[in-house]
Amino acid sequence: MKINISRQSIYLISLSFVLLIFILLFAFLLLIPEGKTYRENRLVVKKESAELRKYQQYNDETQERLKELQHENRHIITAFDTDFNPSRFEKQYAKYFSDLKLKQETRLDDEKSFIVYEVNTSSKINSPQSFYDFLDALNKSDWIISVNFPINFVRENMLIKSSFKMKVYADPMESNTTSSEEL
């Protein structure tokens, strides 16, 4: 039996075969590895984006917490940021005293990394009640101030002469600038 295949057919078959080989090689050597890389990359991106979302969520939560804290402690933050002004202090608290004078202001050692100034005060009051009112008002003042020992009360005719020390707390210099920038 003789199979009669024309020359044309042989060309056709060989060309088909070459093209088929090319396609197979292309698919197995390039396309499939690339597909694998694509799948791997897609997983990595998915993982990364999930992690990023988690970060973003945590970031948002922290920001919320910070805002809440800033809102709650607005008065305190401003008080720590405000420079102590003796004449303004005298003006503000004059109503509690018959006479109020602030003496020298000295810088003490830092306390918990906050700057501390000591101010000596001499004043005259009508009754101890004025002093209690002053202490109450001090807790709402524009600065963070604590009254410290020694506190002296001396009767002087109808008035009580009082002298005491006050500690004024202020932000450390570096955070002073950062917190004011951020606020």
């Binding site: 044309q8 060309y11 056709l12 060309l15 088909s16 093209l19 090319f22 396609i23 292309f26 698919a27 390039l30 396309l31 690339e34 597909g35 890389t37 694509y38 990359n41 897609r42 990595v44 991106v45 990364e48 992690e51 990023l52 970060y55 945590y58 970031n59 922290t62 920001q63 917490r65 910070l66 804290l69 800033q70 402690n73 305190i76 933050i77 008080a79 720590f80 918990k112 906050f114 101890p128 002093f131 209690y132 202490l135 109450d136 807790n139 963070i144 101030i145 604590s146 009254v147 020992f149 020694p150 506190i151 002296n152 009360f153 001396v154 009767r155 707390y169 932000d171 955070s175 917190s179």
Partner: protein, 180 residues
């Protein structure tokens, strides 16, 4: 001269079969190439996204760190101010208690509140009033109480009362209270 009635067939190397074959393979190759290009493009996009996301995460990390520092700082401020406010309130109560302690029979002329003590100066009609009405409560508060008297003209006595709290004894008491 024409020997045939049929027109001659034009012969071309690109036969119909070859055209069909080319068409088939070109479509296949095009699809494969398109898929490959799509994958390459996607990979490039993924790489870009990954870099962007990593940068974003880095930025978020920085902002988180600064916010955390800010939170700690505000907490520190709040803690310190809370301490200051409490000290002022306690001081107010201490001064009020001190003035309440002095009976109406005794007149104070000077009072000094120290870190660990109290110095009172004033006049009393007699020693008994002082001892029972002022010294007794003072003794219950302070660890050491010293009193001295100077007579003044009208039979009254000027007194100086110095009272101290010993820090060590106070610490011991605090420990005892904690244990209870």
């Amino acid at each position: 001269m024409k020997y045939s009635y049929t027109n001659r067939r034009r012969k071309s190397p690109i036969t119909h079969e070859l055209q069909l074959l080319f068409m088939f393979f070109s479509i296949t190759v095009f699809m494969l190439l398109a898929t490959y290009a799509f994958l390459l493009f996607k990979d490039y996009k993924f790489a870009q996204n990954l870099v962007a996301m990593q940068q974003e995460r880095y930025d978020l990390n920085i902002s988180l760190k600064s916010m955390d520092e800010e939170i700690i700082f505000i907490q520190k401020q709040a803690q310190l101010s809370e301490g200051v406010y409490t000290r002022n309130t306690v001081l107010k109560d201490s001064i009020a208690n001190m003035f309440d302690l002095v009976p109406s029979e005794i007149t104070l002329s000077e009072a000094s509140l120290l870190e660990n003590g109290l110095v009172l100066k004033g006049i009393t009609p007699n020693k008994d009033v002082y001892n029972f009405m002022l010294q007794a409560p003072l003794r219950s508060i302070f660890h050491r109480t010293y009193s001295s008297f100077y007579p003044i003209g009208n039979g009254w006595l000027r007194f100086v009362s110095t009272n101290y709290i010993d820090k060590e004894a106070q610490e011991e008491e605090e420990v005892d209270e904690d244990e209870d």
